[in-house]
Symmetry: C2
Subunit: 486 residues, 2 copies
């Protein structure tokens, strides 16, 4: 059978025995390890990299939290768990897990306090720019599409991106702090240690794993459970082809080396169900300078397809998943400025007719789109896609230009959102919905809060939240001395 | 653990022992059973329904075959396996399995002969209408988008829908013939017999199954293999929510009772990987009378989104998966006629401005779309979506009308295309790509030839093809007397 699943009867020696084995030391693994040790569980954390951090340490460090955190309140923002819930249910794709979203929102203030308690610094200031990640060391940012159509009409907007206090990129600091906490806690940690198989008894109980360390395979018995926090699968070409083939066209894959689906596959080999494997976050770099949002995004038919002022983590999906990655940002001379994350000007023309000919669009197509847009924009309206007034301006000053936003020429950045099916207690489930005893998971190895439209900070956020829950659920199990008896 | 996977060590008695156990008697199961017995394998077929047929017997009976079948040639059509391959690779979604498509095309003429050899009658006549299923008893029809953009430019079109000779609906006849063949062959058949679990050894070998018959659980040992041909999962709400939530909005689910994913889940519990679980075929009833294709489909933004003359099995996906199920078919007084499969006229107006106001579209949006369309249609052109000349006609004669093609009011019909990951030999694979010994699958329990855009006849077609291959591969295995020894 698959060497990903092994029979514990074949084990001649357990090299290590612990209560809880955590596989992966990104933010979810760190949270699981800290929670497990706080409960007194004998814990081993294994990480295939040379040090902890994983993809979390490459991220912007934004953590999506709300419901009235101390940081939100000190910056003068009102928020409630209910408003946060409404926003997430509306914005997180076609079928978010309602029970998980509810729990996450209700526990968000406590999660903020937990992070502060572990020494993660949040400057009590608000960054005014629209962004996913602030260039400053401010603590609170807008990190989703809360302020734009249709979400501003569904839930009262509040900024919910909480960023550790450091300029430019909070992920490295976040993981530096949390990995130091893990080092300081009673958990044992093995680096350069890769989990290559789970030990599963014939009745389904997961009782341990094989950990390869420097060429040696060590059998680790986990009395209470194995917690898989190994990340997503955006680096696994075959898995992308099988589940989310369009994501392969993105120039950038937001990932550390470990995001090859290894932990998802360990679960699958053990009989776990997966969910939302086609869901991907795809962003496109129409983000800075903000003024470029006054431009108009069109597809290969010269049609608009999105409100250009929405969060950039939603633009890429609209362009790639629904418009084949063919997109151009139309600007006029007023709006034109050098973009931060795009280079190529695909065409310039004195009229939209000239521009559409340059772009090879159907005669009249772009002109029809822009006439309609301008006609409404002059009145500060966009009845077609409901772009907000801040970025609504008729494009009337020639020359007109088109930035190339095709997948070939613009920086599309992708990561995966689907994975193992888990319940609210972070137990990995089989296809009947029954837990696989002894197997837990959190972070992007699981299907997360967002199963479609993304907001920055949701993956760090649900990784922490469900990583901690995994540790609690595992620890509450009775270690059964009759299992894996050696 | 999951009761879907059981430990054969717990079996006190095998009630039945065969070489090959086929689970499900739709077209894939029939093909597997006939092939298995032709090779001399002792075969048992179990079907949860009271009789054979499954979803295949509810279908139109179209089987997608080509490459120069005798029927194609007798109707005067040239075709080659290469042209068929090019069409399928271009039209079957974002990442069709090239090796399977290649094999399928190369084996298509032989498959036709095999069906004829088993008594499936094909009248040697061609039906001229554009359709998925002919209303006549003609044998050959167009059953995909071969003749329209972009496929007509990619591969030389040929009709490849092969339909058993009967008026209106070929599926019942196809399955009547094949089920009679199964009854006449040496295979044993159990009806009202449901497979509830697989027996899998600790090393991964599948050695049998539990079959529930009239309340009694019978342990069936399969010396060479279990072949899962249980169909898709469109009737399983939870699975749809987890993999293809938008499909739940379709009023019609193309399915027999068995399409609840039970066989997929048996495989998953045994450690199988799945593929393309989000892929669905969604059709929408803009099909007859043909003249309605002269109408113009628009979305909630008043924009066109597809060439209206494409195969109806592609229209629904374009409308639901990419345009939120908001669609209206715009017609003028010339084009207007009573549709066969739609009822509701959503709005009527003397001008497009009036019509768009009636529909609640943004002012000017529909007018801009129709002006552009008419301007080009007057010249017999559609440079935006490349609709063919046959159905291109400016809509200029008031009153104008809009048929309601929203998911709430039009007949969207869905079935699932993803499922168990299998190789070209129909072996079920684990996430590493290794076969699970003794486990085989075919038909819509597997990820099929089409993983997106559909052509009628592909599911019957690949069910037959890979059902037969499953039987051949299983039969070639050595029965191992050391396994499942009781």
């Amino acid at each position: 059978m698959s060497s990903l699943r092994l029979d514990p009867r074949d084990v001649s020696e357990w090299h290590e025995e612990v209560d809880i084995l955590v596989v992966g030391l990104g933010v979810a693994g760190a949270a699981a390890a800290l929670e497990a040790t706080s409960l007194g569980a004998e814990t081993l954390v294994v990480e295939r990299g040379g040090g902890g951090g994983g993809t979390s340490a490459m991220s912007g460090g934004v953590i999506y939290m709300g419901g009235g955190t101390p940081l939100q309140r000190s910056c003068g923002f009102e928020d409630s768990a209910d408003e946060m819930f409404e926003y997430l249910m509306a914005s997180c794709g076609d079928n978010p897990d309602e029970a998980k979203v509810r729990l996450y929102c209700d526990g968000s203030v406590e999660q903020y306090d937990w992070l502060v308690g572990h020494g993660v610094p949040f400057k009590q200031t608000y960054y005014h720019g629209t962004s996913g990640e602030p260039p400053t060391d401010d603590g609170l940012v807008w990190s989703g599409a809360e302020q734009v159509h249709p979400f501003c009409e569904i839930a009262k907007p509040a900024p919910r991106g909480h960023v550790p206090q450091v300029e430019h990129q909070g992920g490295p600091l976040l993981m530096k702090v949390l990995c130091a906490e893990v080092e300081a806690c009673p958990a044992e940690t093995w680096m350069n240690a890769r989990c290559t198989a789970l030990y599963q008894e014939a009745d389904g109980h997961v009782v341990g794993a094989v950990i390869e360390v420097f060429g040696e395979a060590r059998n680790v018995r986990a009395r209470k459970g194995v917690v898989v926090t190994t990340g997503g699968f955006v680096l696994n070409d075959e898995m992308l082809e099988h589940h989310a083939p369009l994501a392969k066209r993105c120039a950038m894959r937001v990932a550390a080396d470990g995001d090859d689906g290894s932990g998802i596959n360990l679960g699958v080999a053990a009989g776990a169900a997966t969910m939302n494997m086609s869901a991907v976050s795809i962003s496109m770099p129409i983000t800075q300078p903000w003024g470029l949002k006054r431009g108009v995004l069109v597809n290969a038919q010269g049609q608009r397809f999105v409100n250009e002022d929405t969060y950039y983590g939603r633009l890429g999906g609209a362009a790639l998943l629904h418009n084949d990655g063919r997109a151009w940002l139309i600007v006029d001379d007023e709006v034109f400025e050098k973009p931060t994350y795009m280079e190529e000007i695909a065409a310039v023309g004195e009229s939209f007719a000239e521009l559409e000919a340059e772009l090879g669009l159907a005669p009249g197509a772009l002109d029809a789109t822009m006439s309609l847009y301008n006609r409404h924009a002059e009145k500060g309206e966009d009845p077609v896609f409901h772009k907000g007034r801040d970025y609504l301006e008729p494009l009337t000053t020639p020359p007109f230009g088109a930035f190339d936003c095709t997948t070939e020429h613009a920086l599309y950045a992708a990561f995966t959102l689907g994975g193992l099916r888990t319940d609210t207690e972070s137990r990995v489930l089989d296809p009947t919905g029954a837990p696989i005893p002894g197997l837990f998971a959190a972070g992007r190895a699981t299907s997360g809060l967002s199963v479609g439209g993304y907001s920055s900070g949701l993956s760090l956020g649900d990784g922490i939240f469900f990583g901690r829950r995994a540790a609690r659920t595992a620890n509450a199990r009775q270690a059964d001395p009759t299992r894996a008896p050696r």
